[in-house]
């Protein structure tokens, strides 16, 4: 009796080691928030809310005084490029997901999924290099002139056409998030129970009517989750965007003009900081904003997916 109790109470080294490794994940997250928050203190104290609403980005003022740093141009650029990317990527991703889950013959399905996975595996900096030497000239020679000829009365498509700028950044972001968004969408569409489709087909609906009335409404939560997760990816994407957006802190309605995004400011200017403590701290605050957005987007997306899988299980039980 005595010895049995002792065995039960003996601290289990094995379990402790596993627990420690698992707990490392929340610890790293908290440490990240702490370290980046700590780095931003100087900037928060200096600029306060002006950091978020300020439109000027002057790290080294001509009079040699304290830097004037407002992040609004970068926030604006991140929002515009991300929305552009989602606008292009969401319909295409849904089409790819439907093609792979519903349409493609069995023989084609695995290779088609494989190709999209390969697209997702291409490193960001290679997308950037391709963007700089293939996409930028393509936009400059063909896409941008066509847009300004047909829709040039809109301020969106006016201004000098260099090929670098928000539109090009939006296009490359769209290309980069399609594999990710479509793979999440494919998974949630595949998770829709067979009974949903069969019920609709039995009523005489065509394939498209089945998708529209039974499959998509059932998977709606998951599709929204895929969009939210893709948005989180797009906002944080650094290298490819930095290489094609032109890196100028400016708020302009023109999609042709060079601009900035939050991560591209950090990537582009971190090396120029050299002893300017407020400047460095401002870049940390940008990182903190980016971190917060990414955490919220990913948490929201994951929770939506969890809700959908709960619904799928309920449906299968019923």
């Amino acid at each position: 009796m005595q010895s049995a109790r002792r065995t039960a109470r003996r601290p289990d080294f094995f379990q402790s080691a596993l627990t420690a490794a698992a707990v490392a994940i929340p610890i790293i997250t908290i440490l990240m928030l702490y370290a980046i928050g700590n780095g931003s203190i100087d900037s928060v104290n200096t600029f306060g809310l002006r950091f978020i609403f300020g439109t000027e980005w002057v790290p080294y003022p001509a009079d040699g005084g304290t830097p004037i740093l407002g992040a609004l141009p970068a926030i604006y650029g991140s929002l515009v490029t991300t929305l552009l990317a989602l606008g292009m990527a969401v319909p295409v991703s849904l089409g790819v997901a439907l093609f792979q889950s519903e349409l493609s013959p069995n023989l084609l399905r695995t290779p088609s999924i494989f190709l999209v996975e390969i697209l997702a595996a291409v490193p960001s900096v290679v997308y950037g290099l391709w963007g700089l030497f293939t996409l930028v000239p393509f936009m400059r020679e063909y896409v941008n002139p066509t847009l300004s000829a047909s829709l040039g009365f809109l301020p969106l498509f006016q201004g000098p056409n260099t090929g670098l700028g928000m539109l090009t950044a939006g296009v490359i972001l769209a290309i980069m998030i399609i594999p990710y968004a479509s793979s999440v969408m494919r998974e949630v569409i595949t998770a829709v129970p067979r009974s949903q489709r069969e019920a609709s087909l039995a009523l005489g609906a065509t394939n498209w009517e089945t998708i529209r009335t039974s499959v998509i409404p059932f998977a709606r939560t998951g599709i929204v989750a895929a969009i939210v997760l893709a948005m989180g990816r797009a906002i944080g994407e650094t290298m490819a965007v930095t290489m094609v957006i032109g890196n100028v802190a400016r708020i302009s309605p023109s999609l042709f003009l060079p601009a900035y995004t939050i991560p591209s400011v950090i990537a582009n200017e971190f090396a120029e900081v050299a002893g300017n403590a407020t400047y460095l701290s401002a870049l940390f605050e940008l990182g903190l904003i980016l971190f917060a957005i990414a955490l919220i987007m990913n948490l929201l997306g994951r929770l939506l997916i969890a809700r959908l899988s709960f619904k799928v299980r309920g449906e299968l039980r019923a």
Partner: protein, 281 residues
């Protein structure tokens, strides 16, 4: 005016055409990227490309030996702590279900979505700012932080696939939980675990942003892991965005080698593995 019947058939056809077109649209860039990289990169290849260190940007000659060295050394450092921590963490998630497990798993998934540049400035603050030097160690650490949640999730998924009769059989024989996990469960799930580790290596191999402020970059071979280190990705970024034509050719050559390594690893792992892989995208 189309009859209802024809309209229904038309919309069904339209759906098939549009959805197939979306697939082709998504693949277009892949073909263009592969074509451009192979054609432009091939021009840079020579024997000295692999045996010499990088020239100053815009300079003639030279190779990518130091970048290859830096990339592989930093992957080694990253694996050294990212893989064991990820394996143990993933094993915990699979073996001890509960409230903590649910939240840790959720957080691990969230962490895989955190922008890599955020990891970069985190390690800058943690290591570079305190040690007052850029180093391969800091770069490797940043990559390791990215690997850990990826490995944890894929290990968790592989262990979940092991039939519970195997686990219960082992425990019924009186084998301790630790031996059951190490010798029976992990060995049964070996294929999936190795696949996850290999794909996490391929993923961080292509990372640039976390290295910019940690390993920095270097024109030389390193003498210790406390030195700044070159890497294929930072080299592609710096040479690609410079104004010199011969630096561009150099960047394409490095991109070709990087793509061969990363896509090669992906293709080998994905075609040989019978396991469904999640959490590595």
């Amino acid at each position: 005016m189309l009859s209802l019947e024809r309209r229904r058939r038309f919309s069904d056809r339209l759906y098939i055409v549009l959805s197939s077109a979306c697939f082709l649209i998504a693949l277009g860039p892949l073909i263009s990227i592969l074509y451009q990289t192979i054609v432009s990169g091939y021009a840079a290849l020579s024997l000295s490309f692999f045996s010499e260190v990088t020239p100053p940007i815009g300079g003639a000659g030279g190779g990518i030996l130091n970048a290859l060295e830096g990339s592989f050394v930093m992957i080694g450092i990253a694996s050294l702590f990212g893989v064991p921590l990820g394996l143990l963490g993933g094993a915990y998630l699979a073996e001890y279900p509960g409230k903590l497990t649910y939240y840790v798993r959720l957080l691990a998934e969230v962490l895989t979505g955190v922008p890599s540049i955020v990891t970069g400035i985190f390690v800058y603050e943690l290591l570079v700012a305190t040690m007052h030097r850029f180093s391969a160690l800091a770069g490797g650490l940043a990559l390791g932080f990215m690997m850990m949640p990826i490995v944890a999730i894929s290990t968790n998924e592989s262990l979940k696939l092991v039939s519970s009769s195997i686990r219960e059989g082992a425990l019924a024989l009186g084998i301790s939980r630790s031996k059951t996990l190490l010798y029976i469960l992990l060995s049964t799930a070996r294929g999936g675990v190795v696949t996850g580790v290999a794909l996490s290596i391929a993923r961080v191999m292509g990372e640039t942003a976390p290295l910019l402020f940690t390993a920095l970059g270097s024109q030389f071979l390193m003498t210790s892991i406390n030195d700044p280190a070159a890497s294929l990705t930072v080299l592609i970024y710096e040479f690609g965005t410079s104004p010199y034509l011969n630096a561009h050719v150099f960047a394409w050559g490095a991109a070709l080698i990087l793509l061969l390594i990363v896509l090669g690893l992906n293709i080998v792992v994905r075609t040989t593995s019978r396991f469904k892989v999640t959490g590595t995208e």
